[in-house]
């Protein structure tokens, strides 16, 4: 009986093994990581070194990011954060697919296509409300793509650079709405593989570079970029993280003629402090944050979306259907 059972298991093993190998999916390592998103949190802890080899693909990743001379950059000493803010941005030559007559001083009309990109904020609360609000306008079409537990930090876990390029190529958006950062508050690896510990100047420098590289990648592929900053969060932990990230987004965005930063922090703060409830444009007051104090409720999502549209209307003529 035992021999027969063992024979069965080996036949089964062979079938399962061959079946799995024949399936033409992505490589196994990113999938294992996908099942263990908590690796992100472990990386933050003392276990970091144990998992350091997971970042082996980082260099390859940068090599593959099109349009950026990573080899050259990786040899350079990172520029201190304070100096970056004072440097004169390089002029960016943009290729505008549809809004070809775009000029910051001129208003642009529909029809146009919008692509929304980001982490869980795009999947819950903000993203859906942004899409719903945009679809109320005449001639606006929207694609939204969000992924849990992702951002610009752990590019070895999920490659938003590559994914953004793909989405832009396939969907051909005129406007890109971007929101990252909720999962980026962890140690970061530079192009030279050195580690920037969270909360240090080195971390800020590396993350700033990451944001800048992302903008360089997408800015010449879309007409306008709206980089959505984080609303003021409930917890001290995220308050400290977003206080560092938001200025990076704002400053880097300002270096690109077709990028607008949407300041949600100010929209959600009351007298500079966190408020659990807020009134929307119609005066309706409701809770704005979910249980984690970062993700927004439906009401909070509507307020965020209204703010983005308010900023969009400075560039684009938008009329409701």
């Amino acid at each position: 009986m035992r021999t027969r059972a063992d024979l069965k298991i080996w036949v089964f093993a062979l079938v399962v093994g061959l079946g799995a190998i024949l399936l033409n999916f992505n490589s196994i390592v990113p999938k294992i990581e996908a099942f263990f998103p908590q690796i992100n949190h472990l990386v933050e802890s003392d276990l970091y070194n144990s998992f350091n080899n997971l970042r082996g693909t980082e260099e390859d990743f940068w090599d593959n990011v099109k349009g950026i001379d990573t080899k050259k950059n990786s040899d350079e000493t990172p520029v201190p954060t304070a100096n970056i803010a004072n440097t004169t941005p390089n002029p960016i030559t943009t290729v505008v697919p549809t809004l070809s007559d775009y000029n910051p001083t001129n208003k642009i009309s529909a029809p146009f296509k919008v692509q929304i990109i980001g982490d869980s904020m795009i999947l819950e609360g903000f993203g859906p409300q942004m899409k719903i609000k945009l679809l109320e306008y005449d001639g606006v079409s929207v694609k939204d793509n969000g992924r849990y537990s992702t951002g610009l930090n752990r590019v070895d876990y999920f490659d938003w650079f590559k994914e953004s390029e793909n989405l832009i190529r396939v969907n051909q958006p005129d406007v890109l709405i971007v929101m990252f950062g909720a999962n980026d508050g962890q140690n970061i690896v530079a192009k030279d593989k050195s580690i920037g510990n969270l909360g240090t100047d080195k971390w800020k420098t590396i993350y700033r570079e990451r944001v800048s590289d992302y903008l360089k990648l997408v800015s010449d592929k879309v007409g306008l970029i709206y980089w959505v900053g984080h609303p003021i969060p409930r917890t001290t932990d995220f308050y400290n993280k977003f206080s560092v990230m938001n200025p990076i987004y704002e400053e880097e965005c300002a270096k690109f003629t077709n990028c607008r930063y949407v300041d949600e922090w100010a929209r959600f703060a009351v007298d500079g402090k966190y408020s659990p409830t807020l009134a929307d444009d119609n005066g309706l007051v409701q809770n704005v944050k979910g249980s984690d104090g970062v993700h927004v409720t439906v009401h909070g999502g509507k307020i965020m979306a209204d703010e983005v549209i308010r900023v969009m209307k400075m560039d684009i003529t938008m009329e409701k259907e």
């Binding site: 063992d6 399962v16 099942f35 998103p37 659990p276």
Partner: protein, 472 residues
């Protein structure tokens, strides 16, 4: 630290290694389980942890008070007081935001602008589940079904880490019987292996796959075609089943590995003919809880048919309210209440022969289609964030401005079919696999598990969304 994460895996392996040795001594093992459960829950934050500890300590004092009271009147008073405290505790944490938002919305509707109650209460994770455990203990003690345990046993019952987040809601008597059982821990049991593998397949492969087809349509139903919305509703129906029953399978397996026996929480619910049968197969630990602690205290089927139907209806509304703080959940519970009453009316009028007859019949097929369609329809309210969104979804099913189908695909159709089909053959299939594994040598068992896990990893989508029932 949630299930199906590296953190939990490492935590559990560590806990299990010591548990094997400590199980011999009941007292030490109980303390060990309690401490492991506290450590597990502490991972969800200090505030959650403090609320849980307060609940455990306060409830044990209340249990002690009920137990000490000798006179029936004083005992009843202490019991009612304890019950009210627990209900208020749950209402405060779970429904304050909903109630204050409702008041502010009502004020806005009445033209009172700017009313800001500025309230925000954060519901501790798993509060609905562990409060139902504390209430169940109070009632069982009052009814004399269970004796007052020592504090550590009680605290272990309430905080037991495999079940605190999303159940199953074990009964105290069953829990203590398992805890006191001197049986050695078994970790190569074929039933446990089947439960773990089935849970992983359901959650990581099927539910994660289906999620991709539900997220968009339920967030912005306005931008999807009628056909897409129908398939999204079917996909969600299959997803919530595989997600929650997958979670329950893993939870039960982990409980069993720690020596605590738990009854099955799902028994192929989508093969049901009629809502009566559906609720005897879906989230069984909750439906039996509601039956024992809500339906029967309300009067059950005593006092005539009207009272019976009223009690069924009210029990289902309570079920809706328990599931979440929102109008959608109340609508979901109310619809199930109405549906259950209609099912009982038909059953009382014509008898339930159609359900019990073996073999195929047109009547059974009609009953099955109607039940599955009704359950799927009600999930639209369950999964929509607002009534407005559910309205758009239902409206879109009948008439949508969008004509392009982006959801419908052969892959989706096959997965939906497989999930439904396994509701009919699943029990036989599980038994077959269980027998197959039990015949294997220990080494062959390891190889089998590793290969299946490998296949799960290969088959699973890149992104695993959070468990649905963690929100409750």
């Amino acid at each position: 630290m949630q299930f199906i994460t590296l953190e939990f895996f490492l935590f559990f392996i560590g806990v299990l290694l010591f548990a094997i040795f400590l199980k011999k001594n009941r007292k030490i093992y109980t303390v060990y389980l309690f401490l492991a459960s506290l450590l597990f829950y502490y991972g969800f934050g200090e505030q959650n942890f403090v609320v849980l500890v307060i609940s455990v300590v306060a409830n044990y004092i209340l249990l002690y008070k009920i137990d000490q009271e000798k006179g029936p009147k004083a005992r009843k008073t202490a019991f009612i007081l304890a019950l009210i405290i627990n209900i208020l505790f749950l209402v405060y944490f779970k429904y304050t935001n909903f109630l204050s938002n409702s008041v502010m919305e009502l004020a806005s509707g009445l033209g009172i602008r700017g009313l800001n109650l500025s309230l925000e209460v954060i519901a501790p994770i798993g509060i609905s589940f562990y409060t139902f455990r504390t209430i169940s203990h109070l009632i069982d003690l009052y009814r004399g079904n269970v004796e007052r345990p020592d504090f550590t046993s009680y605290a272990t019952y309430v905080t037991f880490f495999p079940q605190i987040l999303s159940g199953p809601i074990s009964r105290p008597k069953d829990f203590y019987e398992s805890l006191n059982n001197p049986k050695r821990l078994s970790y190569l049991d074929s039933e446990i292996i089947v439960l773990v593998l089935s849970g992983l397949i359901k959650k990581l492969v099927i539910a994660s796959f289906l999620w991709e087809f539900t997220q968009g349509p339920f967030s912005t139903p306005q931008s999807f075609s009628s056909i897409d919305l129908i398939f999204a509703a079917l996909a969600y129906s299959c997803m919530i089943y595989t997600d929650f029953s997958g979670y329950s399978d893993i939870s039960i397996a982990v409980s069993k590995l720690m020596g605590i026996d738990v009854y099955s929480n799902f028994k192929s619910p989508y093969r049901s003919i009629g809502l009566k049968e559906f609720w005897s197969r879906w989230h069984i630990s909750l439906s039996t809880w509601l039956k024992d602690y809500v339906y029967i205290p309300l009067g059950g089927n005593r006092g005539g048919r009207f009272n019976k139907y009223r009690n069924i209806f009210l029990t289902m509304v309570v079920s809706g309210i328990w599931h979440g703080a929102g109008i959608n959940f109340i609508i979901w519970g109310t619809l199930h209440g109405i549906g259950s009453v209609v099912t009982h009316l038909i059953s009382d009028r014509f008898g339930s022969n159609a359900e019990s007859k073996k073999g195929f019949s047109i009547l059974k097929l009609f009953g099955w289609v109607l039940t599955f369609a009704f359950v799927t329809f009600t999930w639209i309210f369950f999964n929509s964030r607002t009534p407005e969104s559910a309205f758009y979804f239902i409206k879109g099913i009948f008439r949508s401005a969008v004509t392009e189908n982006v959801i419908v695909s052969t892959r989706l159709f096959i997965v939906i079919f497989v999930v439904i089909y396994f509701n009919f053959i699943g029990q036989k299939f599980t038994l077959y696999i269980k027998n197959f594994i039990s015949e294997l040598s220990p080494i062959a068992k390891y190889i089998f598990v590793l290969l299946v896990v490998y296949a799960i990893i290969k088959l699973g989508p890149d992104m695993v969304p959070p468990f649905i029932y963690f929100s409750f």
